[in-house]
């Protein structure tokens, strides 16, 4: 708001001049609503005992696992999600709308329901999991891979939506030109489309990563809770809350700091996507 007097770089509209009060007041209320709980977390944080809380092995174990699994889930989402987004944006086939609805379902599905669904599909007794178990001896629940699966399930729609939107905004004529010049459809996708939608892919990846980092419901339902193997930060926050609220606040602060650092660090690239 105080930017009125300071000259900013050209292209940035000056704030003070044109914000009508009926917009400004709800906007500020919205800001307070979103930021106040975080401020409360900072105020009530046990700053004095914080060093002890944070140097415990359990915290680092959970944080490390969270970072590894969220990154792995993002990779899974990228490998599977970008082609899926391309299919939704470019290919024409009956039932595409229904497909899009199904793909984005985990966005609105309660994560616990997602976890139960994953158990019924990929669990030891699930429709596919039973076969995985008998043929390969692979069971996903209660493993770190299970955490990645749960997180990818919940986070991938964020990537798909973001990439699909960017693809729709990008002009398909460049791809068509490439194919008329002799490139195969896949080469055109790789050399023309992908570089064009890179900001959208990056934005989607960041969103998916952040969502995976905060995943709780599907993880605890599908992968269980075992320190060092499946206990991610959100799980350890929840369990700490049952017996030691101070520890829970300390853990929350760590998660908050990591999330803010990543979202703020990648903000510029993210903005470029829209």
């Amino acid at each position: 708001m105080g930017s009125g007097t300071r000259r900013r770089r050209s292209g940035t509209p000056r704030l003070r001049a044109g914000v009508p009060l009926p917009l400004l007041l709800p906007a500020l209320a919205g800001l307070v609503f979103l930021v106040l709980p975080l401020v409360a977390l900072l105020i009530r944080a046990p700053w004095r005992s914080l060093p002890d809380q944070l140097t415990s092995v359990a915290v680092w174990q959970a944080l490390r696992l969270s970072l590894i699994t969220a990154t792995a889930a993002t990779v899974v989402a990228l490998v599977l999600g970008v082609p899926l987004a391309w299919l939704l944006a470019r290919a024409r086939f009956p039932g595409r709308r229904l497909l899009r609805a199904l793909v984005t379902l985990p966005l609105v599905l309660p994560p616990v329901v997602g976890g139960v669904a994953l158990l019924l599909a990929l669990g030891r007794n699930g429709i596919v999991g039973r076969w995985l178990d008998s043929a390969f001896g692979v069971t996903l629940p209660f493993t770190t891979a299970g955490v990645v699966v749960a997180e990818a399930f919940v986070a991938m729609p964020f990537l798909v939506i973001s990439v699909e939107g960017t693809l729709r905004a990008a002009d398909p004529r460049y791809e068509e030109a490439a194919t008329t010049l002799g490139a195969s459809r896949f080469t055109a996708f790789r050399r023309v489309t992908l570089p064009m939608v890179a900001p959208g892919v990056a934005a989607g990846a960041v969103l998916a990563w952040a969502r995976a980092l905060g995943e709780f419901g599907a993880t605890i339902t599908f992968a269980g809770n075992f320190p060092g193997r499946t206990q991610t930060m959100p799980l350890s926050v929840y369990l700490a809350l049952q017996s030691d609220p101070a520890a829970a606040i300390a853990l929350s602060l760590v998660l908050l700091a990591v999330s803010i650092a990543v979202l703020a660090g990648l903000r510029d690239r993210w903005m470029a996507a829209s």
């Binding site: 158990l119 209660f142 992968a223 369990l239």
Partner: protein
């Protein structure tokens, strides 16, 4: 709204009473869920049910009325629901409304001012949260106890007979997390048996541990006797002697900010009565 009622009251009198009806109905509905429209500290609200409540305080407990709000541990769901129906039948005009959940969460909401008349917890520790905050009236009474049991797949295909069998390699076991009552009880039993058990998961609550068995994702879990009973044929129960070392007491207490203090006392009396103990015993609870 006012301009419309002035011009329309002569020709169309209907909308207005209907509107009032809806407001009254809505308030009644809200009263059922939130105990009452008024806040806890005001003595006289305009509620019609309030005057009859006052008259009941003078006479015997047979003239109870209004809603009794009971916050109770999730493990009490089946038996308390049945007792609530009995209570409503014995005291016509009353209603018992329940809030079942994890004892920790319930205790936290009571200490932060949730409107409740009775609290029944699954452990003395969670009740202590409430008594420490001076939200309970009098000393809590232990009304039942709960013992652990091993829950395993129907027919017990892995032939689990003792607590030690759970430590066999290749067996997948889920335990409750140490932070929640069933987890600390399980840990106590394991310590008493001098056993070291590495589960595949420390579940967030007892129902989570039971569900993993029902879905056949684990071979066994350590839960309460009452949970095995409530699951019916979906799991098989295996008793083990070490569970005697880790019996959980369930305390119950009326709350200080109760809207319906007489109702609270009457409900607790029912829970402690022979009839109440019979219902709880059928659910698998032990006598205190």
């Amino acid at each position: 709204m006012t301009t419309r009622s002035v011009s329309g009251s002569g020709s169309r009198p209907r909308p207005r009473p209907r509107w009032t009806l809806r407001v009254v109905g809505g308030c009644a509905l809200a009263a059922l869920t939130l105990t009452a429209c008024s806040s806890g500290d005001s003595d006289d609200s305009g509620d019609s049910g309030d005057s009859s409540k006052k008259s009941a305080s003078g006479s015997s407990s047979e003239e109870l009325s209004g809603t009794v709000t009971v916050f109770a541990a999730a493990s009490l769901k089946e038996s308390f629901t049945a007792l609530g129906k009995t209570f409503e039948k014995e005291h016509p005009g009353t209603k018992v409304s329940f809030n079942f959940g994890g004892s920790d969460a319930l205790a936290a909401s009571i200490t932060s001012g949730a409107p409740a008349d009775v609290f029944a917890a699954a452990s003395p520790k969670t009740m202590k949260t409430v008594t420490d905050a001076k939200d309970a009236k009098g000393t809590p009474a232990t009304f039942v106890r709960n013992q652990l049991e091993i829950a395993t797949l129907p027919g017990n295909p892995k032939k689990i007979k003792t607590l030690k069998d759970l430590t066999r390699s290749g067996l997948k076991v889920a335990l409750c997390a140490k932070e929640v009552p069933c987890g600390s009880a399980a840990q106590k039993a394991l310590t008493a048996a001098k056993l070291k058990l590495t589960p595949v998961s420390y579940e967030q609550d007892v129902k989570g541990a039971l569900t993993k068995v029902q879905l056949k994702e684990v071979d066994a879990s350590v839960v309460y006797k009452t949970d095995v009973k409530a699951a019916g044929g979906k799991v098989a129960g295996v008793e083990f002697p070490e569970s005697k070392q880790a019996i959980n007491d369930y305390p119950i207490a009326p709350l200080k900010n109760a809207e319906n203090a007489e109702g609270a006392t009457a409900f607790i009396d029912l829970v402690k009565s022979a009839q109440g103990q019979k219902v709880l015993g059928q659910a698998g609870f032990l006598k205190p």
